[in-house]
């Protein structure tokens, strides 16, 4: 088990807030819930830096201060806590997960609570792994949890990824999708399979969300490597990682 965790929940829907808080407490996490972004921000400003790992789960549409504004304030204040957005608007995903927004993950309502809990755990673990004193490092080639495909290195336990030695800031969904593709470079993965990989606990997800994730993975890879074209769309089938486009890594 990881270090103790505090989950901050900003959600204006009273029923959902109550149920989620209930679920979090059942995991023995300490929970603080807020009915809008402003209340959460006021708490964050006053709260002493916690020894526990903090994760902020926030809705987008909220009165007084919405989730995006809260996210901006948190990042501007230099707070390192992971942010997970809950949204009832598919079309918000791109905006929320833009490279500059600073969001770590995103779930679309109605989501599976199990999936949410799993992701909070992952985000928490990842943040702990990144904590001071444990510098970000490309896993050694021989480490068991590393998945390699050319210059692409994925740490499937710590949920981090590197391209040519530089870290890619991926969301959990993105990392799961990339891991699914990288486990067999050159093989075509259907959308359905990628979706299952991204949301193992959720069987009700818009198929188009896979396309959105792929689009953002490409964008993030191109940001590090402008010529990158190794993530191919195979029309009518799905996607694949093109082995030729993954320059030789340290492993054959």
């Amino acid at each position: 088990m990881n270090s103790p965790m505090e989950v901050l929940l900003a959600e204006d829907e009273a029923n959902l807030r109550g149920t989620l808080a209930w679920a979090f407490r059942r995991e023995s996490w300490s929970v603080r819930d807020f009915e809008d972004g402003l209340a959460a921000w006021e708490y964050l400003q006053k709260a002493p830096p916690s020894a526990e790992g903090r994760v902020l789960v926030l809705d987008i549409v909220m009165p007084r201060m919405d989730g995006l504004e809260l996210c901006r304030l948190v990042r501007e204040a230099g707070l390192e806590l992971p942010l997970l957005f809950l949204s009832s608007r598919d079309e918000e995903m791109d905006r929320v997960l833009g490279l500059e927004s600073g969001a770590d993950d995103y779930l679309c309502k109605p989501f599976s609570v199990r999936e949410l809990l799993a992701r909070i755990r992952i985000l928490h673990a990842r943040a702990s792994g990144r904590a001071p004193g444990r510098p970000a490092q490309v896993p050694r080639p021989e480490s068991a949890e590393a998945l390699r495909a050319g210059s692409l290195v994925l740490d499937t336990e710590g949920f981090r990824a590197w391209w040519k030695g530089r870290e890619l800031g991926l969301t959990v969904s993105e990392l799961r999708i990339l891991a699914c593709l990288a486990s067999a470079p050159g093989a075509v993965r259907t959308r359905e399979r990628l979706q299952k990989a991204a949301y193992p606990e959720d069987n009700y997800v818009n198929e188009r969300s896979v396309d959105c994730h792929i689009k953002r993975i490409r964008r993030k890879l191109s940001a590090l490597d402008p010529g990158f074209e190794g993530l191919e769309t195979v029309y009518g089938a799905g996607y694949r990682l093109c082995p030729e486009a993954l320059p030789a890594g340290s492993r054959p």
């Binding site: 204006d12 829907e13 009273a14 029923n15 959902l16 109550g18 149920t19 989620l20 209930w22 679920a23 059942r26 009915e35 549409v61 009165p63 809950l86 009832s88 608007r89 598919d90 079309e91 679309c108 309502k109 109605p110 989501f111 599976s112 609570v113 199990r114």
Partner: protein, 554 residues
Amino acid sequence: MKGRHPRRPAARPRFLGSIGFLILVFNILLVFLPVAAFYFLDSFEKQLLRDLERTMSEQALLAATALRGDAGSLAERAAFFVESLGRGHEARIRVFSAQGSVLADSARIGTIPAAIPAERAAAAPGAEPRAKSAPQREEPGRDSLLYRLGSLPVRAYRRIFRAPSGGGDGSDLFDRSGSFAEAPEIAAALAGRYGSTTRILPGAEGSTVRLYSALPIRSGGTRNPEGIAGLVLVSQSTLRILGELDSMRIDIFRIFLLSAFVAVILSLVSDLLLGRPLRALAARAAGILDRKGRLRGSFPRLRAPGEVGVLSRALADMGSKLERRTAFLESFSQDLAHEIRNPLASVRASLELLEEGEAEEGRRRLFGRARSDLERINHLVGDIRELASLDSEEPGPPSGPCRPLELARGLAEGFASRHPGLGLELRLGPGAEGGPEAAADPRRFVQALDNLLENAASFAPPGSAVELSLELAGEGLRRRWVVGLRDRGPGFPPGEEERLFERFYSTRKADGLHTGLGLAIVRSLAEAWGGSVRAELARPGARFVLELPCSPAH
């Protein structure tokens, strides 16, 4: 890429659209009308011919009168007379004896034949002196391309409708094999009357028309003053008249060509001013929806004055209204999905937790939440349907008379049982008691009032009272019911008066029951009745004012 796009029925760019074509045709017709009228203005020609004949008959009369008397023989007098007239007359004057011999001929001055047989006097029409046929000068006009072009319709017309009626048998008087006295004008003159006839003489350049007028010469003297000594025959070619008419026709044809040219130019200009912008608008209208039927782009607002400009601006207005409507529908469906997903997420979360097993108390709470979320979804769907039907359906006939006071009293009674912690004060203003019916459906009125009441109740602090007031305002046609609802709740942020009536907008904390559509429904209803609804801050609390017109029957 075969068959990628279904070929669009081509709106081929045409030189002239149908408006331009119509304008051209109308302009040309307008030019044609006077021309055609003049071309067929034969009455004018007839008039000229009648004038000519009158002149000739007067000449004949003068000659006949001058030759009357018994000084010397008729032949001498005639020769002298004709000689004295000299040359230079268009008309040919001949004097005949009663027996038919030519005594004098203005065409043959200087040769006074004693008695030339009539048959040989003018053996051929060519004997007619050319010098006297002044119209010969005009002849070249007849050959010109312009003339032939211009006279084409006239010639065709004459060929079809008038060719058979020659009016004569194609010979001069003396070409006839018959006797001198058989010519109708001669016969008339010999009988002592005026006689005239028209003959068409075939000639080298086409037939020429000749008029003949004959008058008897009385013998005068004492013996037999009314005896007929001879006759005067005046003949003249109509060539000059016809020639003048022809040259006039050529002039008119020239004017016609010029006018037609101007008409074409004017039509092109009209097409430029009218047809082109209309075609541009039509092309824009055809392309303004993309293949999925979505509105793309807008209509140009043409500066053009007049109808074209008005049309373009009307289309632009329509386009922007459609655009707003489309944008509204798009955002509405997104809002709706958002509104439904929130309670749905909550239901799902509750069910998942229940699935994993909970203690009794937890179970009850989770079930309660799920139920209230489902209730909310149910409300939402109902309200959406309501709103959609208000927007799209024509209002039917009212289900009965709408007496606001009665209906408000009925609602007030139910209010106490639904909201035990709240009071309701009914205040009646001027005219409310026994006031007229309102121009609204009573069922819908109750719905609007109920939405306002529920809205007020949801904000009213426990133990406070909601005030419901009714009064009449305005006079005559502007007479209306004013229904006010005031709560003592927190009010709303200043400046949000209008947003309160937007769909899904709410200042209320999400409580699982209210959909954010109640006030939007009230506004839709009020507008459908021709009334209005507005919100104002009452400090403390808020006041909503619903106005609806009185039924016109009162």
